[in-house]
């Protein structure tokens, strides 16, 4: 049962990330995703300090705001300061991440969060951390409920606004010309990415989320030219990473999140060699 819940949690994280990651990869913004996932740390730590854990959607949104703020900052330094994008990303996210680490260390006693948790989360605790309804009956593991909600939101967003996302991704000039603001959709997407990184934080940590955003999407991007197929395949790869990752970590007695990422890297490796050899 525990194994099932852990794999389920991992899959929820991986599918959410894969769906959003597909758009990030196509929009050439993978590193912005990386920056967001590091930058949300101070927001998460403050949320932890205030309430003790991240278990309401409002906390997630609050902490996620810092992620969107970081994309604003990157854009601001790039445009107003004429700082090249790579440096703008590098300066912004390390700064916010350092702030987060300082907060964690300083308040180490008060918050249920430590440095290891930042790096790779602790998905193994998910089955014990239950959510209760008003009468005190357990509904289910907290992380599963929150992540299902986030995944539902992402699927809803992509299905309802598929056309807008499609057009702003592939031809932003055209979309601007016909009155669909590409920057508005850019920030909507960034908002969802921050939301997902915050929600996934306890399970996989701030950094390994990046791998789940990029690796399945990049693997799918290699083998298909169709966006719908890419979304489906990357989700599938995400679920596979979660499933095999769990067993790999069981085998090695190591971090589950680390193992999930290792598997997603291996999937990419297979796709890469298939493509390169067929050339």
């Amino acid at each position: 049962m525990d194994a099932f819940i852990i794999i389920l949690t991992g899959s929820l994280v991986a599918v959410s990330c894969a769906l959003l990651g597909s758009f990030l990869v196509l929009r050439k913004m993978a590193m912005i995703g990386d920056a967001i996932s590091h930058s949300v740390l101070p927001g998460i730590v403050i949320a932890f300090l205030v309430v003790g854990s991240i278990d309401s959607i409002w906390m997630i949104i609050g902490a996620g705001m810092i992620g969107v703020l970081s994309t604003f900052l990157i854009e601001f330094f790039h445009q107003k300061g004429r700082l090249q994008t790579d440096a703008s990303i590098g300066v912004t996210f390390t700064w916010l991440f350092a702030l987060g680490v300082i907060l964690v260390t300083y308040y180490a006693g008060n918050a249920h969060i430590d440095q290891d948790c930042i790096l790779h989360g602790e998905i193994a605790y998910v089955p014990i951390d239950l959510m209760y309804d008003a009468d005190g009956n357990a509904i289910g593991p907290k992380a599963v409920i929150i992540l299902s909600f986030v995944l539902g939101l992402i699927i809803l967003f992509i299905t309802v606004f598929y056309k807008e996302l499609f057009i702003t991704t592939f031809d932003p000039d055209f979309s601007n010309a016909i009155g669909i603001s590409s920057s508005k959709w850019h920030y909507a997407l960034m908002g969802l990415v921050s939301l997902t990184t915050v929600a996934s934080f306890e399970s996989v940590g701030a950094i390994l989320v990046v791998a789940l955003l990029i690796a399945p999407a990049a693997s799918a991007y290699l083998i298909t030219r169709n966006l719908k197929w890419m979304l489906a395949l990357s989700s599938l790869f995400g679920i596979a990473s979660s499933f095999f990752g769990y067993w790999l970590s069981y085998l090695l007695d190591g971090s589950i999140a680390g193992a999930m990422v290792t598997i997603s890297g291996a999937i990419f490796g297979v796709c890469y060699f298939v493509i390169v050899l067929r050339k």
Binding site: L208, I214, G254
Partner: protein, 429 residues
């Protein structure tokens, strides 16, 4: 204050070592960071710093010891491999640089985390302390570790010193470097190798994740203060060294404070300060200049419009309504009210009822702009053979920046003309 004196008197040899070590590490990464910055490959440092983790774990697993030289070799190899993987993905597939960077970074790191947790759970007693690589521990820089990392930092600095000219060339203009026969591939190999080395040494102090900042942030901050590479190297080293001392001091005075993140914090504050307040390149100076230019453009465009309306009816000092100005040229209402207020306070126009009248100064200035506009139009048609209906836009931009000297040259070149390509008179001076 007392702690400050205590700290800088270096009473405890330990402090001396830690300060010495962090300064050396900061400087070597700041110097190397300048080159990756100029090559616009700052995030390569981020990739390498994450990617050294599996190398450290594997060399520990293979040797069973924490001998710094063995760990460094492992870290060096896996750092290099991550760069090769990234390049191979970019070269062989349609995946772009950003995704290849993020992919290589996060997957290597994930493997590293898996291996590290595997080592931790394996019950090997020798492993304790291996996780200092994750967040760094400058205070642990003592004995053989300090020696090992200092040697590498010094090697990095010496290599940069020896190959300064070559590195400068391949960073700014690799094409040119190739043409004049420099061994590009070898130089790139050396530059990448010292980047990896700088990262490997730096993570001991600040850790895997924040190492990127030690490379990127000093260079980015220094770039705002100078246009010269050698000055940039010096300034970024100073920033790096300062952050090293501050980080060491903060964690000395408040032992619960981590050195690495504070070093990055100090660096980031320096960088943010530079972004906003640096002279000539800073955001504030820039915005102020842009504001001034926009004001000048608006002022001159308005006066030109006044002048042209006067020209059409041959009465330069008539009353002109704001609506007439908008008919003649597309001003927004906000621009118009702001611009007219500005002009009247400068004495170029005077208000009479709801209308405005040009003053003598305003007339002269409007005339000069119109004159420059038409001179330039004529120059474009005559010397660049551009069709007369295509020259207006260009003249509209350049009329604001032509100096009196240039004006005289144009006149001379065009043989003191009296009318422009559209047969409008060019007003005399």
């Amino acid at each position: 204050m007392e702690t400050l004196i205590e700290f800088f008197s270096f009473e405890y040899p330990n402090i001396k070592y830690v300060v010495f070590g962090t300064i050396l590490l900061s400087i070597s990464s700041a110097v190397v960071g300048c080159f990756t910055f100029i090559k616009k490959k700052s995030l390569v440092g981020d990739v390498v710093s994450h990617a050294v983790l599996p190398g450290i774990c594997i060399s520990f697993l293979a040797s069973g010891s924490k001998d710094p030289f063995l760990l460094i070799i492992g870290a060096f190899i896996s750092g290099w491999v991550s760069i090769l993987v990234m390049d191979a993905i970019i070269r062989n597939t349609k995946i772009k640089e950003d995704a290849a960077t993020g992919l290589s970074l996060s997957v290597f790191f994930g493997i590293g985390i898996l291996l590290m947790t595997y080592i931790q759970h394996s019950g090997n007693a020798a492993q304790s302390g291996l996780d200092t690589f994750l967040f760094g521990k400058a205070a642990a820089l003592i004995g053989i570790d300090l020696l090992a990392f200092s040697i590498i930092a010094i090697v990095v600095l010496i290599v940069v010193f020896l190959f300064y000219k070559e590195f400068k060339l391949i960073s700014f203009d690799p094409q040119f470097a190739k043409v004049i026969g420099l061994p590009i591939r070898k130089l790139e190999f050396i530059l990448t190798s010292i980047t990896v080395l700088a990262v490997v040494t730096g993570i001991q102090a600040v850790g895997v994740v924040l190492m990127a900042a030690m490379l990127i942030t000093p260079a980015a901050a220094a770039r705002f203060w100078t246009n010269k590479l050698h000055k940039m190297l010096i300034i970024s080293s100073i920033f790096g060294a300062f952050s090293g001392i501050s980080g060491a001091f903060i964690s000395y005075s408040t032992p619960s404070m981590p050195t690495g993140p504070w070093m990055v914090m100090v660096l980031s504050i320096i960088a943010l300060f530079s972004f906003f307040f640096a002279p000539s390149r800073g955001i504030l100076v820039n915005s102020w200049n842009r504001f001034k230019i926009q004001r000048q453009l608006l002022e001159e465009n308005l006066l030109k419009t006044f002048f042209r309306i006067g020209e059409n009816s041959n009465d330069y000092f008539q009353d002109i309504e704001a609506g007439d100005l908008r008919l003649a040229r597309n001003f927004s209402s906000a621009q118009l009210s702001r611009g007219l207020k500005m002009l009247s306070s400068n004495g170029y126009i005077t208000k009479s009822g709801s209308a405005w009248t040009l003053s003598k100064e305003g007339h002269d200035k409007g005339k000069r702009i119109t004159r420059l506009h038409r001179l330039w139009e004529l120059y474009l048609t005559k010397y660049l053979r551009i069709a007369p209906d295509h020259v207006h836009e260009d003249a509209d931009t350049i009329e604001h920046v032509i100096t009196p000297e240039l004006e005289r040259r144009l006149e001379q070149l065009l043989d003191y003309p009296t009318s422009d390509p559209h047969q409008s008179a060019i007003p005399s001076r």
